[in-house]
């Protein structure tokens, strides 16, 4: 099996494991539509269970007396599990429990995902465009004043939680200076502050990693040899040092994206954005099982996709990982 196929397979297995874990968690947590905690008339309860696909109406001989009767039989867990996997495979998780058959999970997600993805994508873009060049610049000025200033800023950046930076930017730029909308999503300008919050934090991390990787390379013999051969400084930095810095960065990408996604939960709350984060906690508290599954899988797919991409990119950046023959440990 090729490397790519293997990676894709492992991504699918991971998603399956997440779906199964989520399903089991919801099965065993107290409460939920099938728990019978609320005293409803039996007919209503039965109709609800059938509507939600948790039970079947079965027609058979009556318990007492002749004739045909209709009973409601709860579906066993395994059957619901298989049905759920099928629903996931067809991207159709049905209606959310809380909307009383008015909104599907897919509708909720397709409204929220573009917003969440835009914020996360812009933040990642900003972090890459700001963090990586600044890291290279700092490495090229190793130990100088610019390097130390950037290092101090990066330390502040990795120390500031999103729940601090978000409200700060909101207060300064939206409430005081009125440069951006305060909350909600009225125009693309609404995305600037949320993305900046997440982007600044991630940029600080990337700046540090780039600097560490590039500085390590620049001090090494390879860089000295290349420089001695007359390789232009810009090429040394922008191609060779960058490539060395990119290796640890790709390894860091999954936790960074996970941090970005969790940060987006906070940011969507602070800036009142209609993303999918608001569904995450609300649905879990309301025991809206299809919605929980939808949100968790949406986030997981995003994360797993990026992890997989970074794993597939690693051999492109790091020639040591290409092909089965590995030439010693030169790192």
């Amino acid at each position: 099996m090729g490397r790519a196929a293997r990676t894709l397979l492992s991504a699918i297995v991971t998603l399956w494991a997440i779906a199964t874990g989520t399903f089991l968690l919801m099965e065993h947590a107290p409460g939920g539509p099938e728990s019978g905690e609320r005293r409803l008339p039996p007919e209503v309860e039965a109709a609800n269970l059938v509507r939600l696909g948790l039970a079947d109406a079965v027609t058979g001989p009556c318990a007492e007396g002749p004739g045909e009767c209709t009973r409601v039989e709860r579906r066993p867990m395994l059957r619901r599990y298989v049905a759920m996997l099928g629903a996931i495979a067809t991207f159709d998780l049905g209606f959310t429990y809380t909307s009383r058959g008015e909104r599907t999970v897919r509708e909720n997600l397709s409204e929220g995902l573009p917003v969440s993805a835009a914020v996360g994508g812009l933040a990642l873009l900003f972090a890459l465009l700001a963090g990586v060049p600044l890291g290279l610049y700092a490495a090229s000025r190793g130990g100088g004043r610019a390097d130390r200033l950037l290092a101090a800023l990066a330390t502040a950046g990795v120390s500031v939680p999103a729940i601090v930076l978000g409200p700060l930017l909101l207060y300064l730029f939206a409430i005081r200076l009125r440069l951006f909308p305060v909350g909600g999503l009225d125009s693309p300008a609404s995305l600037v502050l949320p993305s900046a919050t997440l982007g600044l934090i991630l940029a600080s991390v990337l700046q540090r990693m780039t600097r560490a990787g590039a500085a390590g390379f620049l001090e090494g013999p390879v860089a000295k040899a290349l420089a001695a051969r007359g390789l232009p400084r810009a090429r040394l930095l922008g191609v060779h040092a960058l490539r060395h810095a990119a290796i640890p960065m790709l390894g860091y990408l999954p936790p960074a994206v996970a941090a970005l996604l969790t940060g987006s939960v906070v940011i969507e709350t602070v800036f009142d954005l209609p993303g999918i984060a608001r569904h995450l906690i609300g649905a879990a508290v309301n025991r809206d099982h299809p919605m929980v599954m939808g949100v968790v899988l949406a986030y997981s797919t995003l994360l797993v996709a990026l992890t997989t991409a970074s794993e597939l990119l690693l051999p492109v950046v790091d020639p040591r990982l290409r092909g089965p023959a590995r030439t010693g440990d030169e790192g």
Binding site: V164, Y171, P248, G251, P254, V265, S300
Partner: protein, 409 residues
Amino acid sequence: MRRGVAIALASVAAGVAIAPPAAVRLTGYAPDEQHTAFAFAPPGFRDVPLHAPAFDGDAAAFDMLDVERTGRLAPDATAGASRALLLALSDAWQARAERVPESAIRSALAPWPAWADRVAEACAGGCGVEKAISASRFLRLTPSMMASMDRDGDGAVARDEFLGAPLASPHLLGSDGLGRDAFVRLAEGLRLSVVVGVLAAASAALIGVAYGAAAGASGGFAGAAMMRVVDVLYGLPYVFLVILLISLVGPSTLNLLIAIACVQWLGMARTVRGLTASLLTAPYVEAARVQGAGTARVIAAHVVPNARRPILAWAGLLVPASIKEEAFLSFLGLGVQAPAASLGTLIADGAPRIAEHPWLVAAPAAALFGVVLLVNVVLETVAARPGRERKPRKTASRERAGTASVGDG
């Protein structure tokens, strides 16, 4: 240098630990004390603490309070007048009136003419709410304050037992939506956040060391399988499962602690696995084995002590991460529950009102940033010392690259 860092950390820890009682002493406000009438008071607003630890020695006030001239004050002697006046003042406060008219004070205190005269005199022609509170301090003697003055326990305060009206005290950082003192709440929140953060980091470190050492020691298929679990969890939106778990089982401080530890142990496990695997090949381990030491003893007595530096460095990094995690989960309402406060819940409480009352967010946000920054700077200072270089990121990435290439082969 090392001693300096230790002293700095110890004094910060001590400061955080005694912050809540110190704040209560300083301001006179009890943590749960609510002054709903003057909610969202700005920083510096002076009110009369209901659990006032300090009294002003105005003996003449006794004669004024003792309207019937019995020489004894009942514990609730001033309760009615105080309530009536506070209602009037609170109306003015809620309406954001600049001045409380003198007539409003007089009509509120109509059944107590002597007291009405005294307050109105200080507030002639109308005055600000704060001034009126200050002028009517002598009326805000709560039954609990009276009880604290009642030294002979006869249920009444005699003339020689009377200490005077409670002293007014500023809300140093304002007050929140229930009129609770923000400074006292901040001190409490800071302590809880730091305690939860440190405990969670310690638990995560323990789990990580145990798991990593076990994986490193077992080696072979079992060890690889154990690390595969860590790899998979590392790439998962693990935090979302934790959010889900807490939403389902219900939030509490204990669940919060468990959740943070569950999220944070992975990196430690990886590091320790690598360290164990390499240290197990060291000559002294071989020597110990020759002398008959079992695997458990080798790990506990030789491997972990020799790996303590990188382990401690990782554990140090877990502290700011755990503090941030705590604040994050508490911000979402999944952590510390009211009436307890953490920095996360304080920020969450203040965030919706940031436009009108920015001080409610500013103080806890600054405290959270300050703590995390302080710990990070200390860790970096320690790590930057020559000869003690520590590169957890690099180690982790190299290991990652290693596993990927092994899978490739």
